[in-house]
């Protein structure tokens, strides 16, 4: 995935909003890239641009050598939105099966995949419930399961673990890393948690608002194999510190 001087401006009633300005970034296949930055800095917008849900107003963006739109048509993306966005007239299992139906998976295959991803997000047994019967955290997990079900090459996740408590979050972090290691997917991941970003990523992109831009890109030197307690190593703490500094700098701009 290559972004070259990407600009994205929203025209609003009270003037243009520069959500992205001059964003350059290359993400290689199989990378795990986290985006972090103050709220309103364009993280969601950038992810949406990659998934061809917004069209940049300047610069160029290619995904696997295609335009984002072509990639979208080739069903390259699994997208987890900031809010769960489950369809209320379908059960949890039905919601997870929906993209599979659309992509034409067989019935047996669908059932098997639904079971598997439900297990992955620790929601076994909740397949028959309707979304409003679950707590906010459970809904968010269901929406993650939905994005995982069809094995897209590129996984884009917008604050997927925001509504979860630390313990479950840790477990899901581990599961995600595991999945990534096994499948070699390319993952774009938005988070507000510095430890989470450091723990998961091969690269951390720090962004800053007004206009939305990239202020720092930090390469992780951590090995690919990461037990949870790697978070107590000095190396981890050092990287986290760098990210925190980057973030703080972005905030300083603001004032």
């Amino acid at each position: 995935m290559t972004a070259d001087a990407v600009d994205l401006t929203f025209q609003t009633a009270d003037g243009p909003v520069h959500a992205l300005k001059g964003v350059d970034l290359t993400i290689n296949r199989g990378e795990f890239v986290s985006f972090i930055g103050p709220s309103g800095c364009g993280k969601t917008t950038f992810l949406r641009a990659i998934a061809a849900l917004e069209t940049p107003t300047g610069g160029s963006l290619t995904v696997n050598g295609m335009t984002p739109d072509q990639a979208r048509r080739a069903r390259a993306y699994g997208y987890v939105f900031q809010a769960p966005g489950l369809y209320p007239w379908r059960t949890i299992a039905g919601n997870i099966a929906l993209p599979l139906e659309i992509m034409g998976f067989s019935k047996a295959d669908r059932r098997e995949r639904v079971e598997r991803v439900l297990g992955l997000v620790e929601l076994d047994g909740f397949g028959g419930k309707y979304p409003w019967q679950l707590s906010g955290g459970m809904q968010q997990r269901a929406s993650i399961a939905r994005a995982l079900a069809f094995d897209a090459d590129i996984l884009l996740m917008d604050e997927p673990f925001g509504a979860l408590d630390e313990i479950v979050r840790d477990r899901l972090n581990e599961a995600l890393l595991d999945l990534w290691a096994k499948t070699g997917k390319t993952i774009g991941f938005v988070t507000h948690s510095i430890p989470e970003a450091v723990y998961l990523s091969t690269r951390i992109v720090v962004m800053s608002p007004r206009p939305g831009r990239i202020t720092d890109v930090i390469e992780s030197t951590l090995p690919r194999e990461r037990p949870l307690d790697i978070r107590d190593t000095p190396e981890f703490i050092a990287i986290a510190h760098r990210v925190r500094e980057g973030l703080r700098a972005g905030h300083a701009d603001e004032a």
Binding site: L53, R72, R75, Y77, Y79, P88, W89, T91, W132
Partner: protein, 287 residues
């Protein structure tokens, strides 16, 4: 019990007000009659008279009830004097019109939601179409159809459809557009086709809107069928009853036909509501 109590209370209040109104509105006539006959009426005689007139300004509830009972149960249902028979004639046209109208409304809505040219050209004219006074063009519609050799149920059904397609169109357009940006974005991120988006997202989200407007539409269909009956030669159907009733000044007959029509509408709306409940429950949308 607890559900019936409020309705009964309101009905009771209406009946009381109605009797009072009947006394008030019919008194003039009773007094004029007395004056013409050169007699004086006691208050009691006046009240008694207001409740027993043959052509009252406002018939009393019991007069209407008797008229209804006579029309509904007092006749063989195949008799031309039976309200059941006339109701049936109207019902047939209503259902046909409802079918045509809602199908047209749904199809147009689908077109409008998916095709911008259609949205921009059809919608303003659909609004304009509803401002055409239907009673004015109904006779012409009937005549035009008759000259094309189409008579009987269909012309009435067309007029009825004319009135019912609009609520369905408006409701369905709104319903098909309810999916929010995120739900649509999800579909896009899966590269779903238009048909898939329609069947799996737009249509299910439109269901509550569809049913709400179907309820309006079926009542409108009934009105359309009745309006269509007037110029169809005023032979049979509740519309013909209403008209001939007013032609011969038979207020009680008008009110009985009116109540039959309203009851029919209530039953039809309740039937749609039932289908709605079942469908929404099946879809898991009823909580």
């Amino acid at each position: 019990m607890s559900r019936a109590a409020p309705i009964l209370t309101v009905l009771l209040a209406i009946v009381v007000i109605w009797y009072l109104a009947a006394i008030g509105m019919n008194a003039q006539w009773a007094q004029d009659q007395a004056a013409r006959a050169g007699t004086e009426l006691s208050t009691q005689a006046l009240i008694a008279d207001t409740m027993t007139q043959d052509r009252p300004v406002l018939p009393t509830p019991h007069q209407v009830a008797v008229g209804l009972w006579d029309g509904l149960a007092g006749q063989a249902i195949t008799s031309k004097r039976s309200l059941v028979w006339h109701g049936w004639v109207t019902l047939a046209a209503t259902l046909a019109g409802f079918g045509i109208g809602s199908a047209a409304g749904i199809l147009l809505a689908i077109g409008i939601v998916h095709d911008r040219a259609m949205d921009q050209s059809v919608m303003p004219w659909a609004v304009a179409s509803q401002t055409v006074p239907i009673l004015a063009i109904a006779p012409m519609v009937i005549v035009v159809f008759a000259s094309a050799g189409v008579t009987g149920l269909l012309p009435k059904a067309i007029i009825s459809a004319w009135l019912s397609f609009f609520p369905v169109l408006v409701g369905m357009v709104k319903g098909l557009r309810t999916p929010d940006a995120m739900q649509l974005d999800l579909m896009r991120s899966w590269s779903a086709s238009r048909a898939q988006i329609f069947w799996r997202l737009r249509l299910p989200s439109a269901m509550p809107y569809l049913f709400a407007s179907l309820k309006v539409a079926i009542a409108a269909s009934l009105v359309g069928a009745i309006v269509g009956e007037l110029p169809a030669g005023a032979t049979s159907g509740l519309g013909a009853r209403l008209l001939s009733g007013s032609y011969y000044g038979q207020t009680i007959q008008i009110w009985s036909a009116l109540f039959t029509a309203a009851a029919l509408a209530a039953i039809l709306v309740a039937a749609v509501a039932l289908v709605e409940r079942i469908t929404l429950r099946r879809m898991g949308l009823a909580r």
